[in-house]
Amino acid sequence: MSNITGNEIIHQYLRHNKKFPHVLCAGCGHGIVLGTLIRSIHSLGIPKDDVVVVAGIGCSGRLAVYVDFNTVHTTHGRALSFATGIKMSNSHLHVIALMGDGDALSIGGNHLIHAARRNIGVTAMILNNSIYGMTGGQSSPATPEGSTTMTNPYGQLDHSFDIVELARGAGANYVARGTVFHVNQLEKIMVEALERPGFSLVEAVTPCHTQFGRKNKYKTPVDMYKWLKSTAIPLERYNELPEDKRAGRMPIGVFVDRGRPGYEERYYAMQENFLKQAAKGAGR
């Protein structure tokens, strides 16, 4: 395996019969996230047939079209509800929900907190580019306070959602944050998330220079990646920083790793009990 290059791995998982090119802008981080996902599935040796990629709407939603798994491109914000039905129907499948920040936190906010609370065995990936990209650059719940977008030309007044804190509070089993600049770490996180039972959430911070950077002093993709490099800091180092040095830094790493059984495991254990009781009753 060692002489296979990253590209060769990825080619095995792309749909060559799909009408390429893809919809993403040059310099977009979404392709990196998709590459990470493919390599982590490959390294775990999960068969293609056992993977279901459920995606929402927007740039991240389109990723599902290109990969050769079972893929479902759902309605805006509802990826996790579709994923829940799929996982409960066939619990041996690896169900991965790809969502954007607007998708998962705004219209899909309710589904996100309840999927986490229920601890359904789905791996959720939020591709956080702080903006509604495909819709034309309107502000999302993850748009940083003070930045400019199409729908807040005078600066964002709302606070930005902290995805990690939200997921932790709602009860997610595994919560991690990575960036597309720190690819190896993102891949490591993704592997862990896929292996964990219950609800795992990975926030992948990915730049959108076209809709976000352009209006916020990061005119080129390179500017955006430099910004990721200078802002992100490993969680352990972040925790050692004095309070006053933390402002403007974004901790990355694994935040929550609880190891609780998933909803489907608990449900089917309950069902097993009923069936055993019924069999005993019938035996008498």
Partner: protein, 381 residues
């Protein structure tokens, strides 16, 4: 020849009969959110499904999620359903359109209540007839069924599942509060006494399979997710491979096929019950609990020497045009009583095209339409 087994008789609520019917049809997934007057369907499912092998019951966070979960379950090969009432039905509309576009079989029971908005909870109404037809956006075909008594709740639920599977489409079962909260003796059919239809799965090797290919019936085979047939499902307009397309010829092909697969089978889909319609001068066209009042009114009118008949609609959409036209050959008056401002009489007038006089009886006060009200109008001729 073995003696036919005696049917089990139970004293059941309309909502309970829906559950019995669903389980007989092979339903193994229920995702829902409680709302009166449909809640009993969910509550009984919560008690029954976990005790059946592989049965899954889920109380979701809202109606939107319920529809999402049901579609996900159906894509995974299960027969899945949800149940709701007025406001919940509105919330389900977006994903209902998705189910139409992605050709996902499922059954949605809507026990209608007074509206608009929160309206008259637990009061009978039939205000969601046109919402069932046109609630989601875009041009789309849909199958809408109804039931007027408890036995029919069971029978029509089985039919709803069969049609959903046969035509790869969501099917809506519209009930009203009177039907769903009436308790009557019903018979549960024995296995083999009723048809159970399951979706066609592909028989070709996975690499040959095209998920939205044209077939003789217009209904492509549908494999469950994870069975080796990897394909893309989307709510976007898609080509035969399931990939998004905006090419006019591919868009038209898809739209025409999803309409045709329903339209060409109206003989199978349009179910009505004709009561004394062969020679009627006055024909009442009714559905749901109102059809029961209408039946009594028609009998009374006959005893007064008036040639009255009843066309009971069990399929509301596609509207049973053929059966109505047959009656128009001799009927001088059509009476359409309903618990709304005239949602089904629009369809009747459309088919009637001035042949007969159309009289409507409309109640929106949360009260049932009584036999005497209908009788009075029949007697006016």
């Amino acid at each position: 020849m073995p003696r036919p087994r005696k049917r089990t008789e139970i004293f059941a609520l309309g909502n309970e009969a829906v559950v019995e019917g669903a389980l007989l049809a092979g339903c193994s997934f229920f995702g829902g959110y409680p709302i009166t007057p449909s809640s009993e369907i969910m509550e009984i499912m919560a008690a029954r499904l976990p005790r059946l092998e592989g049965g899954v019951f889920m109380q979701m966070e809202d109606e939107i999620a319920s529809m999402g979960a049901v579609i996900g379950a159906s894509l995974s090969g299960r027969k899945a359903m949800t149940a709701t009432s007025g406001p919940g039905f509105s919330l389900m509309q977006e994903n209902l359109g998705y189910a139409v576009m992605a050709e996902t079989p499922m059954v949605l029971v809507n026990v209608m209540r007074g509206g608009p908005s929160t309206g008259l909870p637990t009061s009978p109404a039939q205000g969601d007839v046109q919402q069932a037809r046109w609630g989601t956006h875009g041009d789309h075909p849909i199958i809408v069924l109804s039931a007027s008594n408890v036995q029919e709740c069971l029978d029509m639920t089985i039919t709803a599942f069969n049609m959903a599977e046969k035509y790869r489409t969501p099917v809506i079962l519209l009930l009203d509060e009177v039907t769903s909260h009436t308790r009557e003796k019903i018979e549960i059919p024995n296995e083999g006494e009723y048809e159970v239809f399951s979706r066609t799965v592909p028989s070709m090797p996975p690499e040959w399979y095209k998920p939205y290919e044209e077939t003789v019936r217009g209904v492509p085979p549908m494999p469950p997710l994870g069975s080796g047939y990897r394909f893309h499902v989307t709510g976007l307009t898609h080509d035969r491979n399931g990939f998004p397309t905006q090419r006019p010829e591919e868009v038209v092909e898809l739209m025409e096929r999803i309409h045709r697969k329903i339209d060409q089978f109206f003989y199978d889909i349009q179910i009505v019950e004709e009561i004394m319609t062969e020679d009627c001068d006055v024909c009442v066209i009714a559905y749901g609990s109102v059809a029961r009042s209408a039946e009594l009114a028609v009998q009374q009118a006959r005893s007064h020497g008036v040639k009255a008949g009843l066309l009971k609609l069990m399929t509301l959409f596609p509207y049973p045009r053929r059966q109505t036209e047959k009656i128009l050959a001799h009927a001088k008056t059509l009476v359409v009583p309903e618990m709304n401002m005239g949602q089904m009489s629009r369809e009747v007038k459309r088919v009637n095209m001035g042949h007969a006089a159309v009289r409507t009886i409309n109640r929106v006060d949360g009260q049932i339409v009584t036999p005497s009200e209908i009788f009075k109008v029949i007697m006016q001729g």
